[in-house]
Symmetry: C2
Subunit: 199 residues, 2 copies
Protein backbone atom coordinates (compact mmCIF):
# COMPACT_ATOMS: atom_id res chain seq x y z
CA UNK A 1 0.00 0.00 0.00
CA UNK A 2 2.66 2.47 1.06
CA UNK A 3 6.20 2.59 -0.25
CA UNK A 4 8.68 0.12 1.31
CA UNK A 5 9.88 1.33 4.70
CA UNK A 6 6.58 2.86 5.87
CA UNK A 7 4.61 -0.28 5.04
CA UNK A 8 7.23 -2.45 6.75
CA UNK A 9 6.90 -0.38 9.92
CA UNK A 10 3.08 -0.61 9.75
CA UNK A 11 3.38 -4.40 9.38
CA UNK A 12 5.77 -4.71 12.33
CA UNK A 13 3.61 -2.51 14.57
CA UNK A 14 0.50 -4.47 13.52
CA UNK A 15 2.08 -7.64 14.95
CA UNK A 16 2.07 -6.17 18.46
CA UNK A 17 -0.84 -7.30 20.68
CA UNK A 18 -3.87 -5.02 20.64
CA UNK A 19 -2.61 -2.93 17.70
CA UNK A 20 -5.02 -3.18 14.75
CA UNK A 21 -4.24 -2.04 11.18
CA UNK A 22 -5.54 1.51 11.74
CA UNK A 23 -3.59 1.94 14.99
CA UNK A 24 -0.46 0.56 13.31
CA UNK A 25 -0.83 3.14 10.53
CA UNK A 26 -1.43 5.95 13.00
CA UNK A 27 1.61 4.92 15.08
CA UNK A 28 3.80 4.58 11.98
CA UNK A 29 2.95 8.11 10.87
CA UNK A 30 3.53 9.40 14.37
CA UNK A 31 6.98 7.77 14.37
CA UNK A 32 7.64 9.17 10.91
CA UNK A 33 6.82 12.71 11.92
CA UNK A 34 8.13 12.59 15.50
CA UNK A 35 11.36 14.03 16.77
CA UNK A 36 14.26 11.75 15.81
CA UNK A 37 15.60 12.05 19.37
CA UNK A 38 12.31 10.83 20.88
CA UNK A 39 12.30 7.83 18.56
CA UNK A 40 15.93 7.05 19.41
CA UNK A 41 14.89 7.00 23.07
CA UNK A 42 12.08 4.54 22.25
CA UNK A 43 14.44 2.31 20.25
CA UNK A 44 17.04 2.40 23.03
CA UNK A 45 14.36 1.49 25.61
CA UNK A 46 13.36 -1.57 23.55
CA UNK A 47 16.99 -2.65 23.07
CA UNK A 48 17.82 -2.12 26.75
CA UNK A 49 14.86 -4.21 27.89
CA UNK A 50 15.82 -7.02 25.53
CA UNK A 51 19.44 -6.89 26.68
CA UNK A 52 19.17 -6.26 30.39
CA UNK A 53 15.87 -7.57 31.70
CA UNK A 54 15.77 -11.17 32.83
CA UNK A 55 13.55 -13.25 35.06
CA UNK A 56 14.30 -13.77 38.76
CA UNK A 57 15.84 -17.22 39.19
CA UNK A 58 13.73 -17.80 42.30
CA UNK A 59 10.27 -16.42 41.61
CA UNK A 60 10.23 -15.66 37.85
CA UNK A 61 9.43 -11.96 38.27
CA UNK A 62 11.15 -9.50 35.91
CA UNK A 63 14.46 -8.12 37.14
CA UNK A 64 17.76 -6.75 35.90
CA UNK A 65 19.68 -8.80 38.48
CA UNK A 66 19.90 -12.44 39.53
CA UNK A 67 17.07 -11.94 42.03
CA UNK A 68 14.13 -9.52 41.76
CA UNK A 69 13.74 -6.69 44.27
CA UNK A 70 11.13 -8.62 46.27
CA UNK A 71 13.23 -11.79 46.59
CA UNK A 72 16.19 -9.59 47.62
CA UNK A 73 14.11 -7.89 50.36
CA UNK A 74 14.76 -9.53 53.76
CA UNK A 75 11.74 -7.83 55.29
CA UNK A 76 9.35 -9.88 53.14
CA UNK A 77 7.72 -12.83 54.92
CA UNK A 78 9.37 -16.03 53.60
CA UNK A 79 6.60 -18.29 54.93
CA UNK A 80 3.89 -17.23 52.43
CA UNK A 81 4.07 -17.42 48.64
CA UNK A 82 1.52 -15.73 46.38
CA UNK A 83 1.30 -17.52 43.02
CA UNK A 84 0.39 -15.26 40.08
CA UNK A 85 0.32 -15.67 36.31
CA UNK A 86 2.44 -12.72 35.20
CA UNK A 87 4.90 -10.13 36.51
CA UNK A 88 2.28 -7.43 36.02
CA UNK A 89 0.09 -9.26 38.53
CA UNK A 90 2.87 -8.89 41.11
CA UNK A 91 2.60 -5.15 40.69
CA UNK A 92 -1.21 -5.27 40.98
CA UNK A 93 -0.95 -7.18 44.28
CA UNK A 94 1.80 -4.88 45.57
CA UNK A 95 -0.47 -1.89 44.99
CA UNK A 96 -3.01 -3.30 47.47
CA UNK A 97 -0.37 -3.30 50.27
CA UNK A 98 -2.36 -6.30 51.62
CA UNK A 99 0.46 -8.79 51.15
CA UNK A 100 3.98 -8.81 52.57
CA UNK A 101 5.12 -12.32 51.55
CA UNK A 102 6.94 -13.58 48.48
CA UNK A 103 5.71 -14.34 44.97
CA UNK A 104 5.88 -17.03 42.37
CA UNK A 105 5.22 -16.06 38.73
CA UNK A 106 3.92 -18.96 36.64
CA UNK A 107 4.44 -17.24 33.29
CA UNK A 108 0.85 -17.79 32.17
CA UNK A 109 -2.11 -20.07 32.84
CA UNK A 110 -3.17 -23.53 31.68
CA UNK A 111 -4.78 -23.11 28.26
CA UNK A 112 -5.06 -26.31 26.21
CA UNK A 113 -6.27 -24.43 23.11
CA UNK A 114 -3.08 -22.35 23.07
CA UNK A 115 -1.05 -25.47 23.84
CA UNK A 116 -0.11 -24.33 27.35
CA UNK A 117 -0.13 -27.18 29.86
CA UNK A 118 1.39 -27.44 33.37
CA UNK A 119 4.80 -28.22 31.83
CA UNK A 120 4.90 -24.84 30.07
CA UNK A 121 4.43 -23.02 33.38
CA UNK A 122 6.96 -22.55 36.19
CA UNK A 123 5.27 -25.21 38.37
CA UNK A 124 8.35 -27.40 38.72
CA UNK A 125 10.23 -24.37 40.09
CA UNK A 126 7.40 -23.82 42.60
CA UNK A 127 7.70 -27.41 43.84
CA UNK A 128 11.45 -26.95 44.26
CA UNK A 129 10.80 -23.89 46.42
CA UNK A 130 8.41 -25.92 48.58
CA UNK A 131 11.34 -28.10 49.71
CA UNK A 132 12.16 -25.08 51.86
CA UNK A 133 10.55 -26.00 55.20
CA UNK A 134 9.90 -22.32 56.03
CA UNK A 135 6.96 -22.09 53.62
CA UNK A 136 3.62 -22.45 55.41
CA UNK A 137 1.04 -21.10 52.98
CA UNK A 138 0.54 -20.82 49.25
CA UNK A 139 -1.97 -18.20 48.10
CA UNK A 140 -3.17 -18.88 44.57
CA UNK A 141 -3.91 -15.55 42.85
CA UNK A 142 -4.43 -16.53 39.23
CA UNK A 143 -6.77 -14.50 37.01
CA UNK A 144 -10.50 -15.07 37.80
CA UNK A 145 -11.20 -16.37 34.29
CA UNK A 146 -11.45 -19.82 32.75
CA UNK A 147 -7.70 -20.43 32.34
CA UNK A 148 -6.86 -18.94 35.73
CA UNK A 149 -9.49 -21.06 37.48
CA UNK A 150 -8.25 -24.21 35.74
CA UNK A 151 -4.70 -23.40 36.82
CA UNK A 152 -5.83 -22.72 40.40
CA UNK A 153 -7.71 -26.03 40.58
CA UNK A 154 -4.74 -27.91 39.13
CA UNK A 155 -2.34 -26.32 41.64
CA UNK A 156 -4.71 -26.83 44.62
CA UNK A 157 -5.06 -30.55 43.91
CA UNK A 158 -1.33 -30.98 43.40
CA UNK A 159 -0.30 -29.02 46.49
CA UNK A 160 -2.90 -30.70 48.72
CA UNK A 161 -0.85 -33.91 48.61
CA UNK A 162 2.18 -32.04 49.99
CA UNK A 163 0.34 -30.92 53.12
CA UNK A 164 0.91 -27.16 52.87
CA UNK A 165 -1.98 -24.74 53.49
CA UNK A 166 -3.25 -23.66 50.07
CA UNK A 167 -5.64 -20.72 49.83
CA UNK A 168 -7.30 -18.90 46.97
CA UNK A 169 -8.31 -15.27 46.68
CA UNK A 170 -11.85 -14.58 47.90
CA UNK A 171 -14.67 -13.97 45.52
CA UNK A 172 -15.13 -10.27 45.14
CA UNK A 173 -12.99 -10.15 42.04
CA UNK A 174 -15.18 -9.59 38.98
CA UNK A 175 -15.47 -12.95 37.18
CA UNK A 176 -14.29 -13.18 33.59
CA UNK A 177 -11.84 -10.32 33.98
CA UNK A 178 -8.11 -9.87 34.33
CA UNK A 179 -6.51 -9.70 37.78
CA UNK A 180 -4.36 -6.77 36.73
CA UNK A 181 -7.44 -4.59 36.03
CA UNK A 182 -9.02 -5.02 39.48
CA UNK A 183 -9.03 -1.87 41.62
CA UNK A 184 -6.95 -1.82 44.80
CA UNK A 185 -9.91 -2.09 47.24
CA UNK A 186 -11.48 -5.09 45.49
CA UNK A 187 -8.18 -6.89 45.21
CA UNK A 188 -7.30 -6.04 48.83
CA UNK A 189 -10.64 -7.47 50.05
CA UNK A 190 -10.09 -10.58 47.99
CA UNK A 191 -6.78 -11.04 49.81
CA UNK A 192 -8.42 -10.65 53.23
CA UNK A 193 -11.22 -13.11 52.40
CA UNK A 194 -9.07 -15.84 50.88
CA UNK A 195 -10.47 -19.35 51.55
CA UNK A 196 -9.16 -22.89 51.84
CA UNK A 197 -8.67 -24.53 48.48
CA UNK A 198 -10.88 -27.54 47.63
CA UNK A 199 -13.59 -26.75 50.20
CA UNK B 1 6.86 1.02 39.82
CA UNK B 2 8.93 -1.53 37.93
CA UNK B 3 12.69 -1.77 37.99
CA UNK B 4 14.61 0.62 35.68
CA UNK B 5 14.53 -0.62 32.09
CA UNK B 6 10.98 -2.01 32.10
CA UNK B 7 9.52 1.19 33.52
CA UNK B 8 11.50 3.28 31.02
CA UNK B 9 10.05 1.25 28.16
CA UNK B 10 6.53 1.61 29.59
CA UNK B 11 7.06 5.38 29.80
CA UNK B 12 8.34 5.63 26.23
CA UNK B 13 5.48 3.51 24.85
CA UNK B 14 2.99 5.56 26.86
CA UNK B 15 4.11 8.69 24.99
CA UNK B 16 2.87 7.25 21.68
CA UNK B 17 -0.57 8.48 20.54
CA UNK B 18 -3.51 6.31 21.61
CA UNK B 19 -1.40 4.18 23.97
CA UNK B 20 -2.67 4.50 27.58
CA UNK B 21 -0.80 3.31 30.68
CA UNK B 22 -2.35 -0.19 30.60
CA UNK B 23 -1.60 -0.67 26.90
CA UNK B 24 1.95 0.58 27.43
CA UNK B 25 2.44 -1.99 30.18
CA UNK B 26 0.96 -4.78 28.07
CA UNK B 27 3.16 -3.84 25.10
CA UNK B 28 6.28 -3.60 27.29
CA UNK B 29 5.71 -7.10 28.65
CA UNK B 30 5.05 -8.39 25.17
CA UNK B 31 8.37 -6.87 24.00
CA UNK B 32 10.11 -8.32 27.04
CA UNK B 33 8.86 -11.83 26.37
CA UNK B 34 8.91 -11.72 22.57
CA UNK B 35 11.47 -13.29 20.30
CA UNK B 36 14.60 -11.10 20.21
CA UNK B 37 14.67 -11.43 16.43
CA UNK B 38 11.11 -10.09 16.08
CA UNK B 39 11.99 -7.11 18.26
CA UNK B 40 15.14 -6.44 16.25
CA UNK B 41 12.95 -6.33 13.13
CA UNK B 42 10.67 -3.79 14.84
CA UNK B 43 13.63 -1.67 15.93
CA UNK B 44 15.14 -1.81 12.44
CA UNK B 45 11.80 -0.80 10.90
CA UNK B 46 11.65 2.27 13.15
CA UNK B 47 15.25 3.23 12.39
CA UNK B 48 14.80 2.69 8.64
CA UNK B 49 11.70 4.87 8.53
CA UNK B 50 13.50 7.64 10.42
CA UNK B 51 16.52 7.41 8.13
CA UNK B 52 15.01 6.80 4.72
CA UNK B 53 11.51 8.21 4.58
CA UNK B 54 11.17 11.82 3.51
CA UNK B 55 8.42 14.01 2.15
CA UNK B 56 7.89 14.52 -1.60
CA UNK B 57 9.32 17.91 -2.54
CA UNK B 58 6.32 18.61 -4.79
CA UNK B 59 3.24 17.35 -2.94
CA UNK B 60 4.45 16.57 0.60
CA UNK B 61 3.39 12.90 0.52
CA UNK B 62 5.73 10.36 2.17
CA UNK B 63 8.38 8.85 -0.07
CA UNK B 64 11.86 7.38 -0.02
CA UNK B 65 12.86 9.37 -3.11
CA UNK B 66 12.86 13.01 -4.20
CA UNK B 67 9.32 12.63 -5.60
CA UNK B 68 6.56 10.31 -4.35
CA UNK B 69 5.25 7.51 -6.56
CA UNK B 70 2.19 9.56 -7.58
CA UNK B 71 4.17 12.66 -8.60
CA UNK B 72 6.52 10.37 -10.58
CA UNK B 73 3.58 8.75 -12.43
CA UNK B 74 3.10 10.41 -15.87
CA UNK B 75 -0.33 8.84 -16.29
CA UNK B 76 -1.76 10.93 -13.43
CA UNK B 77 -3.79 13.94 -14.58
CA UNK B 78 -1.67 17.06 -13.90
CA UNK B 79 -4.63 19.44 -14.25
CA UNK B 80 -6.37 18.45 -10.99
CA UNK B 81 -4.93 18.62 -7.48
CA UNK B 82 -6.63 17.03 -4.50
CA UNK B 83 -5.63 18.78 -1.25
CA UNK B 84 -5.56 16.55 1.83
CA UNK B 85 -4.36 16.94 5.40
CA UNK B 86 -2.10 13.90 5.75
CA UNK B 87 -0.32 11.22 3.71
CA UNK B 88 -2.71 8.62 5.06
CA UNK B 89 -5.57 10.55 3.43
CA UNK B 90 -3.83 10.09 0.05
CA UNK B 91 -4.08 6.34 0.57
CA UNK B 92 -7.75 6.61 1.57
CA UNK B 93 -8.56 8.55 -1.63
CA UNK B 94 -6.47 6.16 -3.74
CA UNK B 95 -8.52 3.24 -2.45
CA UNK B 96 -11.71 4.76 -3.91
CA UNK B 97 -10.21 4.69 -7.45
CA UNK B 98 -12.40 7.76 -8.03
CA UNK B 99 -9.50 10.15 -8.56
CA UNK B 100 -6.67 10.06 -11.11
CA UNK B 101 -5.13 13.51 -10.53
CA UNK B 102 -2.31 14.69 -8.27
CA UNK B 103 -2.26 15.45 -4.56
CA UNK B 104 -1.12 18.14 -2.19
CA UNK B 105 -0.54 17.16 1.45
CA UNK B 106 -0.96 20.09 3.85
CA UNK B 107 0.59 18.34 6.83
CA UNK B 108 -2.39 19.02 9.10
CA UNK B 109 -5.32 21.40 9.46
CA UNK B 110 -5.79 24.87 10.89
CA UNK B 111 -6.17 24.49 14.65
CA UNK B 112 -5.62 27.70 16.64
CA UNK B 113 -5.79 25.87 19.99
CA UNK B 114 -2.85 23.65 18.98
CA UNK B 115 -1.06 26.69 17.54
CA UNK B 116 -1.42 25.53 13.92
CA UNK B 117 -2.19 28.38 11.56
CA UNK B 118 -1.92 28.61 7.74
CA UNK B 119 1.83 29.27 8.02
CA UNK B 120 2.40 25.89 9.67
CA UNK B 121 0.77 24.09 6.72
CA UNK B 122 2.16 23.55 3.21
CA UNK B 123 -0.05 26.28 1.75
CA UNK B 124 2.82 28.35 0.34
CA UNK B 125 4.00 25.27 -1.57
CA UNK B 126 0.47 24.85 -2.96
CA UNK B 127 0.47 28.44 -4.25
CA UNK B 128 3.85 27.83 -5.91
CA UNK B 129 2.40 24.81 -7.71
CA UNK B 130 -0.51 26.95 -8.95
CA UNK B 131 1.93 29.03 -10.99
CA UNK B 132 1.88 26.00 -13.29
CA UNK B 133 -0.72 27.02 -15.88
CA UNK B 134 -1.75 23.37 -16.43
CA UNK B 135 -3.74 23.23 -13.17
CA UNK B 136 -7.46 23.72 -13.73
CA UNK B 137 -9.10 22.44 -10.57
CA UNK B 138 -8.32 22.15 -6.87
CA UNK B 139 -10.38 19.61 -4.94
CA UNK B 140 -10.31 20.31 -1.20
CA UNK B 141 -10.53 17.01 0.68
CA UNK B 142 -9.78 17.97 4.26
CA UNK B 143 -11.31 15.99 7.14
CA UNK B 144 -15.06 16.71 7.67
CA UNK B 145 -14.49 18.02 11.20
CA UNK B 146 -14.06 21.47 12.71
CA UNK B 147 -10.40 21.94 11.82
CA UNK B 148 -10.80 20.44 8.36
CA UNK B 149 -13.78 22.67 7.59
CA UNK B 150 -11.91 25.75 8.79
CA UNK B 151 -8.97 24.83 6.57
CA UNK B 152 -11.26 24.22 3.59
CA UNK B 153 -12.95 27.58 4.04
CA UNK B 154 -9.61 29.34 4.38
CA UNK B 155 -8.26 27.72 1.22
CA UNK B 156 -11.46 28.32 -0.77
CA UNK B 157 -11.42 32.03 0.00
CA UNK B 158 -7.73 32.34 -0.79
CA UNK B 159 -7.86 30.38 -4.04
CA UNK B 160 -11.00 32.16 -5.25
CA UNK B 161 -8.92 35.29 -5.88
CA UNK B 162 -6.62 33.32 -8.20
CA UNK B 163 -9.45 32.29 -10.53
CA UNK B 164 -8.98 28.51 -10.45
CA UNK B 165 -11.96 26.19 -10.04
CA UNK B 166 -12.06 25.15 -6.39
CA UNK B 167 -14.33 22.29 -5.33
CA UNK B 168 -15.00 20.50 -2.08
CA UNK B 169 -15.99 16.90 -1.43
CA UNK B 170 -19.76 16.38 -1.34
CA UNK B 171 -21.63 15.83 1.84
CA UNK B 172 -22.08 12.14 2.42
CA UNK B 173 -19.00 11.97 4.57
CA UNK B 174 -20.07 11.44 8.18
CA UNK B 175 -19.63 14.76 10.00
CA UNK B 176 -17.30 14.89 12.99
CA UNK B 177 -15.19 11.98 11.77
CA UNK B 178 -11.83 11.44 10.16
CA UNK B 179 -11.51 11.24 6.38
CA UNK B 180 -9.23 8.23 6.65
CA UNK B 181 -11.96 6.17 8.35
CA UNK B 182 -14.59 6.66 5.64
CA UNK B 183 -15.43 3.52 3.66
CA UNK B 184 -14.56 3.44 -0.05
CA UNK B 185 -18.13 3.81 -1.32
CA UNK B 186 -18.90 6.85 0.85
CA UNK B 187 -15.64 8.53 -0.02
CA UNK B 188 -16.10 7.67 -3.72
CA UNK B 189 -19.59 9.24 -3.74
CA UNK B 190 -18.25 12.31 -1.99
CA UNK B 191 -15.75 12.66 -4.84
CA UNK B 192 -18.47 12.38 -7.51
CA UNK B 193 -20.73 14.89 -5.77
CA UNK B 194 -18.11 17.56 -5.07
CA UNK B 195 -19.52 21.11 -5.25
CA UNK B 196 -18.24 24.58 -5.98
CA UNK B 197 -16.59 26.20 -2.99
CA UNK B 198 -18.29 29.28 -1.46
CA UNK B 199 -21.73 28.61 -2.92
Amino acid sequence: MYEGAVQELIDELGRLPGIGPKSAQRLAFHILEADTEDMQRLVRAIITVKERVKFCTVCGNVTEMELCNICRDDRRDPTVICVVEESKDVLAVERTRAFRGRYHVLGGAINPIAGIGPDQLRIRELLTRLNDSQIQEIIIATDPNLEGEATATYLSRMLKTIGITVTRLASGLPVGGDLEYADEVTLGRAFEGRRNALT
